[in-house]
């Protein structure tokens, strides 16, 4: 799931990550659609294949997040969506005649795009991550990193890391879920040095030094997406896809989902959902009640 204000390059980045057009780019909705009035959830599923391995990838985009004048509680539709997916899985699991492979629509990873202001996180970012780091794996990403020079980038990252720490926001990989020492050292390194990844996305190719590379062409130079001196896209890709993909799924299943399940069963008095009052649909959003109406 990719989250962040419009125009931060979410769709472009997802396309770059999976080297295919898996996300509908904003330019196509530029002309007809306006900024949506409420946060919408758009899920698009794809099947991609590499080396004989098939993967069903679902990208969930959230246009309209953080774009309004009043952004209070704009994370609620998203929290609701995530919990709905858990609910679906739970219902299937407790079914008497359940399927062998339960269709898994749960959100395994949430890429949160931080605007590269160079100053600090925005209050909205903090609030969102506080609420959602408990239900889903959040990977903070600094969008459009070509706005910042190298010093600005490292200063900004340090400040963001510190702010996240001070506010008690556990982003993926969470410290408490490190299983052994090897994991811990590896994840510590990532947590303290690389994250949040400062990325640049692009789906256009240019010729640089005789090779065709993905990049952005500006009058003062070409920014190469996969060049580690320019941005950390390659690190993000390796992290999410090549090394931690399975772990993301496991943490989602073993921890976030179990937390949700335990809470639901507790709410229902130890019984699986659906076996309460007949026909009652129990509220599936254990979110904090919103104080103001829209």
């Amino acid at each position: 799931m990719s989250k962040g204000q419009s125009g931060l390059g979410k769709s472009t980045l997802v396309n770059t990550l999976f080297k295919s057009q898996v996300s509908r780019k904003a330019s196509s909705w530029n002309r007809e659609e306006k900024i949506p009035k409420t946060v919408e959830i758009k899920a698009i599923g794809h099947v991609i294949e590499e080396g004989g391995v098939k993967m069903k990838l679902t990208v969930i985009d959230t246009p309209g997040f953080g774009d309004q004048i009043n952004n209070e509680n704009c994370w609620e539709p998203i929290e609701k969506y995530i919990n709905e997916q858990y609910e679906k899985f739970l219902k299937e699991e407790v079914n008497i005649a359940r399927k062998k492979r339960i269709p898994d629509t749960r959100v395994h990873c949430c890429l949160y795009f931080i605007s590269p202001t160079g100053h600090s996180l925005r209050p909205l970012d903090l609030e969102f991550m506080k609420h959602l780091s408990k239900v889903v794996n959040i990977i903070p990403v600094i969008a459009k990193a070509d706005t910042m020079t190298l010093e600005e980038k490292s200063e900004f990252k340090q400040r963001v890391r510190k702010e996240l720490e001070v506010n008690g926001i556990e982003f993926y990989p969470q410290k408490e879920f490190d299983e052994d020492l090897e994991d811990k050292t590896e994840n510590d390194k990532i947590r303290q040095e690389s994250m949040p990844f400062a990325v640049v996305g692009s789906d256009k190719e240019y010729q640089v030094n005789g090779k065709r590379v993905l990049g952005r062409k500006t009058p003062w130079g070409i920014i190469e997406v996969e060049n580690l001196n320019h941005c950390e896209f390659a690190l993000l890709r390796d992290f999410v896809i090549r090394t931690h993909l399975q772990d993301l799924k496991e943490v989602t299943h073993n921890i976030h989902y179990e937390t949700y399940r335990a809470k639901r069963l507790n709410d229902n008095g130890g019984l699986p959902p659906g076996e309460g009052l007949l026909g009652t649909v129990l509220p599936s959003v254990p979110a904090t009640p919103c104080p103001t109406a829209e």
Binding site: G7, I35, E72, K144, T218, G221
Partner: protein
């Protein structure tokens, strides 16, 4: 006063202004050069101010030297300009202002973290600098609005800002209607740079709402911040999108006045270029970077150097040119249009307002009358005294003096 001495005096004062500006009004300047403002204030003159005509010439009355006198007086008086910058935090507003005026307006700046920003409301910070260039003084006030657009709920963001603008108008109105009008300080906001984020796809709802709320009170100049985020194509697309949205929402931004037909081609061309580049996409920086053998102000990236003053990289020069050559016009539009609108609204409202407002007005009238009476009495007393002195103490007494 011999003509030669007179000429030398005036020529000396104007020589530096004359030699690079050449022709009449403010032109494309190669450096900061706000001393061209005085040129734009000489609307009457078609003559080069350096030329001094010998008054002995037959058929010459001499009032053609009026512009020179105006020029001298206005240079002595100095100029003042108030610029407001509005935009979300982190868009490079302070850096741009520092780059534009080659000063450091914010020497000890602490940027608050996100948790502190949650509690903060919009504040207004006005900083004034007096800069001087070639004998021309400019009193520049920059009004900053930290906290704008930061909160999760930005509904009340611009109330503070609008209140500030109105307050300046109010104060000017009050001063203008006062008895002593000699030293009116003009703190009205002459121009507002509105910073649009380059990360979006155009204007955000907050941008539109804010601009609609102030377009009748202040000249809005939209500026696309951090333009080095965009490739050229993206920039064109964004500019067009913003212009379309401005038109769609009927937002009145500041329009550069067309060059008059008697101006030369260069100036007309320059005005055309400026008009075509709105909204300006700028990059600000005060760091000197070594590029192609010379030191330029810019930003150093691993993939290249963005030069602030390179017209191919961004519109910084155009923005600066526009600001300088049209500073006078911005002030005039503020005075003739926005202030007059405010004034007529205010005075219309004044009649129908609540009781204490009326009472205030009555009180003011009473006070003024009392003051007048006091002054009259004082004059009468003084005259009586003079008479007494003249008559050598002839105790005719009294304040029966003439009534003034």
């Amino acid at each position: 006063m011999t003509p030669s001495a007179h000429g030398a005096g005036k020529g000396g004062a104007r020589a530096d202004v004359g030699h690079w500006a050449g022709p009449r009004r403010g032109r494309l300047l190669l450096f900061f050069g706000f001393s061209a403002i005085e040129k734009t204030s000489l609307k009457m003159s078609k003559q080069q101010p350096t030329q001094f005509i010998n008054p002995e010439t037959p058929g010459y009355v001499g009032f053609a030297n009026l512009p020179n006198q105006v020029h001298r007086k206005s240079v002595k008086k100095g100029f003042e300009f108030t610029l407001m910058v509005v935009g979300e935090s982190g868009l490079g507003k302070s850096t741009l202002i520092n780059s534009l005026f080659l000063t450091d307006l914010y020497p000890e700046r602490i940027i608050p973290g996100a948790a502190e920003k949650i509690e903060r409301t919009v504040q207004i910070e006005a900083s004034t600098v007096e800069i001087e260039e070639r004998g021309v003084k400019l009193r520049l006030t920059v009004v900053d609005t930290p906290g704008y657009g930061d909160a999760i709920n930005c509904r009340d963001c611009f109330k503070t800002i609008i209140a500030y603008i109105d307050e300046q108008f109010e104060r000017y109105l009050h001063d203008e209607s006062g008895l002593n009008r000699r030293h009116i300080v003009d703190n009205r906001v002459h121009c507002c740079f509105y910073f649009i984020s380059p990360f979006g796809h155009g204007l955000k709802p907050l941008d539109v709402a804010f601009m609609k709320a102030i377009h009748n009170k202040v000249n809005i100049v939209p500026v696309i911040a951090k333009a080095d985020t965009l490739t050229l194509k993206e920039r064109e697309r964004l500019k067009k999108r913003i212009l379309d949205e401005i038109e769609e929402h009927n937002i009145k931004i500041y329009h550069l006045p067309d060059a008059e037909s008697d101006e030369d081609e260069d100036f007309k061309e320059q005005t055309r270029l400026l008009k075509a580049s709105i909204p300006f996409s700028v990059v600000g920086s005060n760091q000197l970077i070594e590029a192609k053998g010379k030191k330029v102000r810019g930003r150093l990236y691993p993939w290249g150097v963005v030069e602030v003053e390179n017209p191919e990289h961004n519109d910084f020069l155009k923005l600066r040119t526009m600001l300088i050559t049209h500073m006078q016009d911005l002030q005039e539009v503020t005075q003739d249009l926005h202030y007059e609108n405010f004034r007529s609204e205010r005075l219309k409202r004044g009649g129908r307002k609540v009781d204490n407002e009326d009472m205030n007005k009555d009180q003011i009238l009473l006070e003024k009358e009392a003051e007048l009476r006091r002054m009259q009495e004082m004059i009468a007393r003084m005259q009586a005294q003079m008479q007494l002195q003249l008559q050598g103490g002839d105790g005719d007494g009294g304040a029966h003096g003439h009534h003034v």
